[in-house]
Symmetry: C2
Subunit: 112 residues, 2 copies
């Protein structure tokens, strides 16, 4: 059991939410602006119930908020958890940048 501070991002839930192509596609759709569950489901070759389940996972990770507008459920993207995931990965950025630098040096030496 990992103790988390109240304001700590839930990276397990965030990375877990990103670990499915349909959920990443839903984020891409919502990056264009809020959308109803029906509109979000349309391009996907899965049931409305399956899309709702994916939206639930995104909601649990804090990635979307659902607002009821009469009979329509409208989803909004909240980018803060994406920023948290990005922040975690940034700590290791030096590792792949070093790798690319080493590759660039290698190619430069080959040219000489």
């Amino acid at each position: 059991m990992v103790e988390r501070e109240p304001n700590d991002p839930d990276l397990d839930a965030i990375f877990g939410a990103l670990a499915h192509p349909t959920r990443r596609a839903l984020i891409e759709q919502l990056a264009g602006g809020p959308a109803s569950v029906g509109d979000l489901a349309e391009p996907h070759d899965v049931s409305l119930a399956a899309v709702s389940k994916h939206l639930q996972v995104l909601g649990d990770a804090g990635l979307i908020e659902v607002e009821k507008d009469g009979r329509v459920r409208r989803c909004h993207l909240d980018a803060a958890p994406l920023s948290d995931a990005f922040g975690w990965l940034t700590r290791y950025r030096v590792l792949w940048e070093d790798r690319f630098d080493a590759l660039a040096d290698h190619l430069e030496n080959e040219e000489q």
Copy 2:
């Protein structure tokens, strides 16, 4: 079923691998340099078998390579999948940067 090109990163496996605190801690340990499975397991309050399972998940996502050195299994971090995850998140960077800009503007207006 999502079709992937041979060189496409397996973002499902990569994000899935990052969705556990022990696996993120193992990445942090390996960022300091290669280590044996025994050394990696030491700070974790779980069995060697459980650590091996986590290392298997990291390996399946391409995040580590395991090299046999006699009886010792030595793990190396491969940062390329972290770079792939970072690349995917970068596409949405404008969303949280806009949010921070809006917050900064708001605070600036409050001060005036």
